[in-house]
Each structure stands twice: as structure tokens, then as C-alpha cells.
């Protein structure tokens, strides 16, 4: 089985973002970009499928600027992906989901793929558009919020579930298809040191992205307002503290009636 997993470099969780000088976006200068969150889950899912289905290969792809795109692709190879393709684009042309899908679709057309995996949304912009857009551009079925993805060799189909507001749906899909995974229903592995060393020497195929302005134009990036002061509860006994807390939660915070 040929599995393509789409990943995006996102700022490390502990990063303290700052706006750029013109205030339109988060300043990437000095920010460490990593393979994280949703994408770790989808790489893990790709590797689990590879281990379950003999003679499978996992190909990682990323679109974006250097060097961060190359770094996350190397991280994916260190985890066990077999090969990688980098679609070289500036942050301006490919930072939104639709632009990323448009940049990647031609590259994917040239790669064998039975399954294209992605996280349910990018860990930074969180728009959740990419996988659906890619499915439409490739003209193949696409599904979001997927869990419990399995390959049924007898039927040559994928089976999976989708958790919805009202219940759990069970689905089947033919190949090829695009699947955006719900996060964290697997336990992403850690890259081993010898694999990290090996990943540094692995070749990464580079493809130039067609220049295209993004359809969405960021106007302003603001940090969340500083948190207002906490309210300290005065008490003499733990019981009194609990009673006061419950009263405040009911009457002031109104978190329950």
C-alpha cells in the first residue's frame, strides 16, 4: 500500500509568539517549527498501517518555506517514513489550507497513493480546510474527523469511524481516498537516535510550487489579552472554602445552575 502523509511545520507548543512589525501575522523569526499534534497522530497512523499491511510505503509531503519544511520532513523520516517530498513555497503563498492543497495536488498526482492522510487541522491556523480541499482537487473521496482507521484486505477498502454530535458513524471507503484524522486516538512514537542520524542523510525530493497568491489575506495578529487577576477565596476550614467556591461557580461564573 502506498500511503502519503501530509504534514505542516507549526510553532513549538511552548513558543511565545509575537506579531510582525506590520502587525499582520505572527513573526516566524526565532520561532522553532516542529512536527506536532495532529500531524504526529497522522504520521503514527500511517506507520501503523504500514506495519499492518505488508510491502507498504509511507511518503511524507510538506509545503512551505525552508528550512522548517525540510526539518519536519526529516522528523517524519526519523519516525519511519520511507521518503519525503518538499513543495517549496513561501509562507505567503501556502499558509492557508486551500493554497496548501493547490500547491500539493500536482505533486501528489505524480506520487502513487492509495491513501492520503492528514491531521484534522493544522496546529497553527486550525482551519480544517486542507484535507477536504485536497480531496476535491484530486477528485477522490475525502473524510474528516476519522478514528479507528483500518484496511480490509479482502474487500480492498478502508473502514473507519466518525464521531459526530449525535453518535458514531461507521464508514467504508474505496482507494484512493483522503482522510483527515481526529487527533490523539493513537500514541505517537518517539524517533530513535539512530533513525535521527539516518534521517539527516536521507534525500528529500524538492518540487517548486506554482506561484499563486493566497485567497485569504491576513490583516492583523493579536496576542490574547493578559489574564485578569485570579480571585482568592478567604476561608478558615476546607469545608468553608469548598462552599464558597461552589457558590461563586454558581452565582458568578454561572458554570452550572
Amino acid at each position: 500500500m502506498e500511503i502519503v502523509v501530509c504534514i505542516k511545520p507549526v510553532p513549538e507548543a511552548e513558543t511565545r509568539l509575537r506579531p510582525t512589525a506590520d502587525g499582520t501575522r505572527a513573526d516566524p523569526d526565532g520561532v522553532k517549527f516542529v512536527l506536532a499534534g495532529y500531524d504526529e497522530s497522522s504520521v503514527e497512523q500511517a506507520l501503523l498501517l504500514k506495519e499492518a499491511v505488508p510491502a507498504s510505503k509511507v511518503h511524507a509531503v510538506a509545503v512551505g518555506p525552508a528550512p522548517r519544511s525540510e526539518e519536519v520532513l526529516r522528523a517524519a523520516i526519523a519516525l519511519g517514513c520511507d521518503s519525503a517530498t518538499w513543495v517549496d513555497a513561501t509562507a505567503d503563498t501556502a499558509d492557508d489550507g486551500l493554497s496548501a492543497a493547490r500547491a500539493l495536488a500536482p505533486a501528489l498526482a505524480g506520487l502513487p497513493h492509495d491513501l492520503v492522510l492528514a491531521g484534522k487541522q493544522a496546529g497553527d491556523r486550525e482551519s480544517g480546510v486542507f484535507a477536504a480541499a485536497l480531496g476535491e482537487l484530486l477528485g477522490v473521496p475525502d473524510f474528516g474527523f476519522v478514528t479507528d482507521l483500518r484496511w480490509e484486505p479482502a474487500a480492498a477498502r478502508f473502514t473507519f469511524r466518525r464521531a459526530t454530535e449525535g453518535g458514531v458513524e461507521r464508514w467504508e471507503s474505496p482507494v484512493p481516498c483522503v482522510i483527515a484524522l481526529q487527533q490523539a486516538w493513537n500514541d505517537p512514537r518517539t524517533a530513535k537516535l539512530p533513525m535521527i542520524l539516518k534521517s539527516r542523510k536521507a534525500p528529500i525530493a524538492k518540487v517548486a510550487a506554482a506561484p499563486a497568491a493566497g485567497p485569504s489575506i491576513p490583516v492583523k495578529f493579536e496576542l490574547p489579552p493578559p489574564r485578569s487577576g485570579a480571585k482568592m477565596i478567604e476561608y478558615k476550614t476546607p469545608e468553608e472554602a469548598a462552599q464558597t467556591l461552589v457558590r461563586l461557580l454558581k452565582e458568578e461564573a454561572k458554570v452550572f445552575p
Binding site: 526539518e71 526529516r74 518517539t190 530513535k192 537516535l193 535521527i196 534521517s199 539527516r200
Partner: protein, 382 residues
């Protein structure tokens, strides 16, 4: 001009060690220190991720990392728990005599299994009556047919109760002092090898330390490293390699102490404001930051020097000595910053002081390091 930037590969190695230290080691550090407990499941995980046997060359299945790479990893591990780090890197110390003094057949035979499966090894040099004075060791190796018979006792041996292999230094001729010492590889399974019970230690309590007795232990000549009488040289060259990572280990403790102190100082209020706004605390933090930075740079420089093929005795002694003294001082100041809370076991900084203390003693006490530094220094003036 020197270039202090790390390569992307080095950053990846450091990230791996950092993640392991903070997610797998640190959460268990307090419990393993208090009980005390030797967390073998953590050491196995470290092995699985490739964080053990960092110095074994690639031809025998190791990673063959440079000393600077090793230092980056060791500093991060020590940030999570110095005691666990001591046990994780003890294999590097125990296998280095084989790397430096072994024939290619011996390297193949002894090193390869360590890269195929989790095993621990111990470096057995120190004796009850001779630590710094390594030339005075009393463990005897008597010629016996096509081999030797070992008799004696080693002490303060890291991981000894759990090791499957020992690098043992013994004398064939006590009168010849250091020229009579030879190095041997002895399996734990050899009849007459008896590790003692775990010592109760002040710090590094997640690590295991004991005596090892050798009573009439037969060792074939094929398991002697190098020629007879070369053991002292093998031991000293081993310590030239492993001293610098101890500087990195001490730096990791110091960085942890600084981080705890700075975070606490921003939260803790006194006289109506965070104590970080009091100049007395600012001066402490500034001094701590200088010590940590200097310790790290000296360690990097020593590693860089040795990686370029130089012996680096002076540089590694300066790095180990300075970083370990700095580590103790920074941990001390971290406790002072925490005040009464710092003295309580509920808070993390008192452990750092107990852990830092050992770095001034083991792998060459700092008095020995200063002797080496002075000797190398004065050579330039004579």
C-alpha cells in the same frame, strides 16, 4: 572565529534527549530519589531510543557520536534526573576501555552485544583504599596457565549489581605501581564475581552503587585489554574521554536549578512584590546564569578540542572541575532563593544540591582535576 551554532542534527539529538528527560525521567525523579529505586524500565526505554552506549563506534552497531554530541545529550538527561543519567552513561565509561584498548576481535565480541540488546556494564577501578591514587590499587591478577586469577575488592561501582560485564583494573606486580596494572573484561557470570548490596547515598539515588568482590576469578588472557601493564594508561585515557560529559551532566543540574529559582522568584511575593524584583535576588540569578553559561561553554570547548583529535586533558579537567563546582554553587543559591521551602524535600531544589555534590567527587575528584590543570599549566612556564 569559533562557531557556537549547533547543526540541525545536533539540535535533533538534543531535542530527543530533552523530550525523554522531561517526559520519562523527571516525573519519576523525586520518587526514585526518595525510595530510593533503580528505575530499570526507564533505562530500558533510554536504551530503546538509542540514548545509551553513545560512544560505541558505528562498525560495532553504535551511534559513534562525537563527544560534543554526547555532551548535548548528557546535559539534557541530567536536567531530568542526574542519578538516572549516571546510570544511563555508566555504559559509556565501562565500554570506553574496550574501545580504546581492545583488539578488533575484542571490540566485536564485547561491544556488539551491547548494541543488540539492553545490557549494563560497570567500570571497576576504585578500591576501598585507593580512589584518586589509582596507581595504588591492590586487586591482584596472578598469572595462571593461559590466563589470570583475580582477587580483590572494588568499591563505589556504578550499576554493579545490575551489570553483566565489568571492566576491571588489577595489578600483576604491586611493586611496579601503575606500570603493573592491566585491564580485563570480566563477565558477571564468571565464578567468584560477587557484587555487594546497594550503598545508601546522599544523592544520585536512582543510580545503583556497590562493591564488587573478585575471589579467585579466572580470566583468559584473551580478555585482557592491551598488553600486560598497559591498564593504567587505558584507565587514564578512558577518563580523558568521559570527564567532559561529567561537566555536561553538572551543567544540566545547574540549568535545572537556575530554571527552578527564576520561575519561583517571579511568583513568590515578599514586601509587596515578586522577589525577582528585589536586587538581592536579581544578583543571585545573574551570578547563577553566568556560572551555567560558563560551565556549558567550557564543556563544549573541551568536547570540541577532543573531537579534533587532541588529548584535551587540560580542557576536560577545567570543564569538569568548573562545571561541577558551578553546579554545586548554583544549586546552593537555588535553595537560598526558595528560602525555607528550598530546604524541604517537597520542593525540587534540595535534590539538585545532593546530586551536584557527587559531580565534584566522581570520575576524578576536583582536587585531582586541579592537580592536572596545574601540571599542564606549569609545563608552559618551565
Amino acid at each position: 572565529m569559533p562557531d557556537f551554532s549547533l547543526t540541525p542534527e545536533q539540535e535533533s539529538l538534543r531535542d530527543l534527549a530533552r523530550k525523554f528527560a522531561r517526559t520519562e525521567m523527571a516525573p519519576h525523579a523525586q520518587e526514585c530519589d526518595r525510595t530510593p529505586r533503580f528505575p530499570e524500565e526507564i533505562y530500558r526505554k533510554a536504551y530503546d531510543l538509542g540514548l545509551m552506549n553513545l560512544n560505541v563506534p558505528t562498525e560495532f552497531g553504535g551511534s559513534g557520536l562525537s563527544l560534543l554530541d554526547q555532551c548535548l545529550i548528557v546535559e539534557e538527561l541530567a536536567y531530568g534526573c542526574a542519578g538516572m543519567t549516571t546510570s544511563i552513561i555508566a555504559n559509556c565509561l565501562a565500554l570506553e576501555p574496550i574501545i580504546l584498548g581492545g583488539s578488533s576481535e575484542q571490540k566485536q565480541r564485547f561491544l556488539t552485544p551491547f548494541c543488540q540488546e539492553y545490557h549494563l556494564a560497570s567500570f571497576a577501578l576504585t578500591e576501598p583504599t585507593g580512589g584518586s591514587d589509582a596507581g595504588a590499587i591492590r586487586t591482584r591478577a596472578r598469572k595462571d596457565g593461559d590466563g589470570y586469577v583475580l582477587d580483590g575488592e572494588k568499591c563505589f561501582i556504578t550499576n554493579a549489581p545490575h551489570a553483566s560485564l565489568y571492566a576491571v583494573f588489577a595489578t600483576t606486580d604491586p611493586a611496579a605501581k601503575h606500570r603493573g596494572i592491566s585491564a580485563f573484561v570480566v563477565p558477571r557470570s564468571a565464578p567468584g564475581v560477587t557484587p555487594g548490596k546497594d550503598e545508601e547515598k546522599m544523592g544520585h539515588r536512582a543510580s545503583s552503587t556497590s562493591t564488587v568482590r573478585f575471589d579467585g576469578v579466572r580470566v583468559p588472557a584473551a580478555d585482557r585489554l592491551g598488553a600486560e601493564g598497559e591498564g593504567f594508561s587505558v584507565a587514564m585515557r578512558t577518563l580523558d574521554q568521559t570527564r567532559t560529559p561529567i561537566g555536561a551532566l553538572a551543567t544540566g543540574i545547574a540549568q535545572a536549578a537556575l530554571d527552578h529559582a527564576a520561575r519561583y522568584a517571579l511568583k513568590r511575593q515578599s514586601f509587596g512584590k515578586p522577589i525577582a524584583e528585589h536586587q538581592a535576588i536579581q544578583i543571585k540569578l545573574a551570578n547563577m546564569a553566568q556560572s551555567v553559561h560558563a560551565a556549558r561553554l567550557l564543556t563544549w570547548h573541551a568536547a570540541w578540542t577532543i573531537d579534533r583529535g587532541a588529548k584535551g586533558s587540560l580542557e576536560s579537567s577545567i570543564a569538569k572541575c568548573f562545571a561541577s563546582d558551578a553546579s554545586f554553587q548554583v544549586a546552593d543559591e537555588a535553595i537560598q532563593t526558595f528560602g525555607g521551602y528550598g530546604y524541604m524535600k517537597e520542593y525540587p531544589v534540595e535534590k539538585l544540591l545532593r546530586d551536584a555534590k557527587l559531580t565534584q567527587i566522581y570520575e576524578g575528584a576536583n582536587e585531582i582535576q586541579r592537580t592536572v590543570i596545574a601540571r599542564e599549566l606549569l609545563r608552559g612556564y618551565a
